[in-house]
Symmetry: C2
Subunit: 224 residues, 2 copies
DNA sequence: TTATAAGTTTAGACAAATCTAAAAATAGTA
DNA sequence: TACTATTTTTAGATTTGTCTAAACTTATAA
């Protein structure tokens, strides 16, 4: 119906993420924080997004994304994650370097371009951070991830993703070789601060709760 | 010094092209035509570009691009042409399909991205339309092109580019296999309308002056 | 339950890029 | 040269996305 502007696309993406990630309701101030702007600006934009039927919005009552809005958001997320795969796999950037470039590339409008990029990359299912890539209809895989901080001593896990996508955090993980696909065994969990001693291939090291909380894992299954 | 906006980048690109292409001076109305906007809007923008020292501008006296402005323009042109190579060589688009996508991709800001893209593509010297790609310092090859309409009967030439970049024209040329690199012999030039009978591999066909005027060629050299 | 705090919206303003209509400057021509 | 036509600029508005400060609503807690 309407063609969203770049700003509208970014708001819808933020609202989509807030709807699915946090447990709190999607309110004006949480959007303001995630968009790094003021509550007043958000209110203005919510009216516009509501007029275009991408969200349901009632004053003082918070926001719910509509089917239409979700479709826009998933389209942008698809583009973002495909470009991230391109940047790491083809142009050989590190996983902590690609986010800002993908933030720009995701707004390039051609659907045909993204279709061909997807094909060229071999229809990847996950981006370099382990996040699933929606297909053209918006569907995506979602394996039952949980936090490394909820893992048990003596168990073996595979890293599937992260919840903190900041460059600082990703760089930190890269230093330890903690990338999606890597196997981690928990040797010990400290009672005092919930920090853990982990083993990755032949290295052993300490992870704070702050770090383990932001790493997503699945159970290690030996065969296949 | 200043970071140009997308609009400023597009104005500088247009002014650069007008400075180098046409013989007429770069005046307000020619910029307005090429930017598909009004003379009033152009005047406003010229003041801004002048404030930022990308052009020298005197009221009613027309415009001259500065070194700084030329550097900005060449950076955009470099990005545009590298993305065009990517779209045709890697994503297998036709040469008449890539322009609009490249118009968006050229404004993605990362210098490192374009450096790696250039490397990935094998440091190409020309884009799919035969236009030279500036290097990081703004230098580019410029072989002595001339118009096919200035060619002589009985002579053999190699297509090096086009002067009309419209989809309509490029599609027309593609139908005849008239692409950069292809060899063309002029069999006959009609006195009446300056149309020409040309031979391309085994095909023979007629080209109007309208068409031949927009094809760039160089002399065919048999060895090497 | 009422006072206060927290969160949200409105009002009014601004910068960027654009427009139309009118005024001013330059160019072309008799 | 002087008149007219063309080109360019100015003036005043508009749209998008933003801001601060003030007003308003909802939540919290004595």
């Amino acid at each position: 119906m309407y063609q969203p502007t770049v700003t509208e696309e970014n708001y819808l993406k933020a609202i989509y993420h807030l709807s699915n990630t946090g447990t709190k309701s999607v309110n004006t101030s949480s959007i303001a924080t995630s968009m790094e702007t003021t509550a007043a600006s958000v209110t203005d934009m919510l009216r516009k997004l509501s007029d275009k039927e991408w969200i349901n919005y009632e004053k003082y009552k918070g926001v719910k994304i509509t089917r239409k809005g979700e479709k826009v958001a998933l389209g942008i997320i698809r583009k973002h994650r495909l470009w991230e795969v391109f940047l790491t796999n083809i142009l050989e950037f590190e996983w902590d370097e690609v986010h800002n470039m993908a933030e720009e590339l995701e707004h390039v409008s051609s659907e045909e371009l993204i279709k061909r990029l997807d094909k060229f990359l071999g229809h990847p299912k996950f981006d370099p951070h382990g996040d699933p890539i929606p297909d053209q209809t918006g569907k995506m895989e979602s394996h039952d991830k949980f936090n490394l901080s909820a893992g048990e001593a003596g168990e073996k896990y595979i890293i599937t993703g992260v919840t903190d996508h900041s460059t600082l955090f990703l760089k930190h993980l890269r230093k330890y070789g903690l990338l999606p696909g890597v196997t981690v065994s928990i040797a010990e969990i400290m009672d005092y601060d919930k920090s853990m001693l982990v083993k990755v291939s032949k290295d052993k090291f300490h992870l704070s709760l702050e770090v383990s909380k932001n790493i997503l894992i699945k159970k290690y299954v030996s065969s296949k």
